[in-house]
Amino acid sequence: MSEIKKIKNLKEFSTSADRFEGANLLCPGCAHSIIVREILNATNDDLILSASTGCLEVCTAVYPYTSWDASWIHIGFENGSTAVAGAEAMYKALKRKGRLKQPDREPKFVAFGGDGASYDIGFQWISGCFERGHNMMYVVLDNEVYANTGGQRSSSTPIGASTTTAPAGRVSYGEKMNKKDMLAIMAAHGSPYVAQVAPNKWKDMIKKIQHGFQVEGPVFINAMSACTTEWKFAPEDTIAISDLATDSLVFPLYEIIDGTKLNITYRPKNVIPVKDYLGAQGRFKHLFKPENKHILDEWQERIDKQWEYLQRREEASV
């Protein structure tokens, strides 16, 4: 087991091991790049990475350039998990056969995918990887929409959001379904560690990523990735929007160990109303019309219930 990297402060952390170059094509204000840097910088170990088709992939490996100073692979939309699982299997095989070029170094295997690639089209592949117990980390860059293709709804899109395939209109308030609870599903796979993270809470994130790198087996990380383009907020407000998400408890930060033991890892000192979070984004603008008040009310009620549930789970410690 490799040593855990010591991180003193944000400035040092942000420049400590640049294996993801700033030279990429992601939108200004995109949280993807912040999250990826935080994850890569959380370890000094070698990394073998994959990305599913999506914003991160199309913006970081456009021939003849690459933004990756670690081995990286993209195959398709649905199979980023299995791509890295295949590489991990090869690592085990070559280790056993004594054919590793650097036998003393133990790389970490990390797959990145958007919520479309993870909650929807690549769901089966992730489930397969977790059932088989590959030693890997799967990270969802969860911006709750198919952002790369122009803002279509996914099964991570929350209720009431206006997307291009479920737009708000004269007779519709937008998305009708609630966001899929991927953490619960992945915890039910018996994963040794699943956690929800947000880039604004970087210390919480590093702790979770480092824990994830220490455990054996498949680790699932759901990272909230505020999308300036599809959530419709100003590029300089990414961290402010992320703060609203975590402080309104719309995006609670917690972890589940060995499939059961749930710990809440961030408790806002002042919990803000959900409508403050929703109101800061163009995708929810229509919810503030009088005829959609019931959706706003439902939102607050659901988030309250979710927080109550998480606290009970934590107390029960099972």
Binding site: I48, V58, A61, Y63, I73, I75, N79, A87, K101
Partner: protein
């Protein structure tokens, strides 16, 4: 270290066992696989080898064929020997990743036990899946019997992994007719088999931690065409010499000779059928009988379906008066793929060949000697007339009234 297996000089193996024994002998590093009839025994046999210590690589039993090929791509890019097996619907599910594997220049070997494509659902052999793969950028070898399924696996690894090639390869065999039919197979001992293919030489391997690589990039109208053109160029120019060199080396080792195109009694033939898979052997049998009756008939078997051995086929057929292209896949709205390939190969030649198309054997329907006698009879009539005496396309062995087109 994997245990060695003592083999008799001749083992009674079906095509599936032959393929899985070859996979064992080349000591694959990662097999990611999913079972599907009729290729399932390949995966089962491999599992049994693992359970008994005869292989020491990783065997990843994934949740679908798409994941099988995805895992193979990840493993191959990581840097080691990789193979799997599939059939039919599983092959169809893999197709997306087949293109990705070849475009990323990863030398994976895929054993395809040919089977029909639904609907209607059918587990038996035809060439629909093989045809589905023909534009995927893979090398495609075709075995006609278990011995060839065994031998061609070694050829496939040797060619695919060559650093001048770096393209994945399929070894096809007919579902049930080859895969489940036990025959005597001449074996290689484990060391000889392994040494023929040699130790895997990685290139652009992700696991070389001092030299990170990026696999599977984005290209648009600026570079995509150049990548595809280079891949095509390598298939057209670099692969054939490597295959022929591998065939030569294999003949030197075993005495068994393979060719891009297998020809039987073609030199002075008036009429020739061109086919693939087990039908080649049936056609050869019938051609021998007809030769004994004084009829000048022959058979051409396609050994390498992709890249298409244009020159070898043109040379083999240039003086043949009448040619029958036998397609074991529904063309669904045109002439058969073999007919099209042959027409494209022969059209600019000096001789005018009369070419006709027979669609046969879909979903495992038998192609009998009687069918072949009838086909040869029609082709001889075409040769005599110097023109088609039948419709261009006919269905063979179909119940009910004769079906023909064009």
């Amino acid at each position: 270290m994997a245990e060695k297996m003592e083999l008799r000089d001749i083992e009674v193996w079906d095509g599936n066992m032959a393929a899985s024994q070859a996979m064992r002998q080349v000591q694959i590093d990662v097999v990611a696989a999913y079972p599907i009839t009729p290729s399932t025994p390949i995966v089962e046999n491999y599992g049994s080898f693992l359970a008994n210590g005869y292989v020491d690589g990783e065997f990843v039993m994934v949740e679908s064929e798409h994941a099988a090929m995805s895992g193979c791509v990840g493993a191959s890019a990581a840097g080691g020997r990789v193979a799997t097996a599939t059939s039919s619907q599983g092959f169809a599910l893999m197709v997306e990743v087949l293109y990705q594997a070849s475009g990323m220049r990863l030398p994976i070997v895929l054993n395809v036990v040919n089977r029909a494509l639904a609907a209607p659902l059918n587990v038996n052999g035809d060439h629909s899946d093989m045809y589905l793969g023909r534009d995927s950028g893979w090398i495609q070898f075709d075995a006609y019997n278990p011995q060839e399924a065994y031998d061609l696996n070694f050829i496939a690894f040797k060619v695919a992994e060559d650093h001048d090639v770096r393209l994945p390869a399929m070894v096809h065999q007919d579902g049930f007719m080859t895969s489940h039919t036990a025959q005597g197979v001449h074996t290689l001992d484990d060391d000889t088999a392994y040494n023929f293919v040699g130790e895997f030489q990685p290139m652009n391997d992700m696991l070389d931690l001092d030299n990170p690589v990026t696999h599977g990039v984005q290209t648009e109208e600026d570079w995509h065409f150049e990548h595809k053109a280079r891949q095509h160029n390598d298939l057209m120019t670099k692969v054939f010499p490597k295959i022929e060199a591998a065939f030569d080396a294999f003949e030197k080792l075993t005495g068994r000779r393979y060719n891009l195109v297998e020809t039987y009694n073609v030199e002075d033939a008036d009429a020739v059928v061109v086919c693939m898979g087990t039908s080649v052997e049936t056609a050869v049998e019938v051609s021998k009988e007809l030769r004994a009756e004084g009829k000048k008939v022959g058979v051409v078997g396609i050994r390498v379906f992709r890249p298409w051995p244009f020159e070898a086929i043109r040379d083999a057929l240039k003086d043949v008066k009448a040619i029958g292209a036998l397609d074991r896949s529904s063309p669904n709205g045109t002439v058969g793929a073999l007919f099209n390939e042959l027409a494209g190969t022969l059209i600019n030649g000096d001789t005018k060949n009369v070419l006709s198309n027979y669609v046969y054997g879909l979903g495992g329907r038998d192609l009998t000697k009687a069918h072949l006698r009838e086909i040869f009879g029609e082709l001889l009539a075409n040769a005599e007339a110097g023109a088609l005496t039948t419709p261009t396309q006919q269905f063979v062995g179909l119940r009910g009234p004769k079906l023909s087109f064009l």
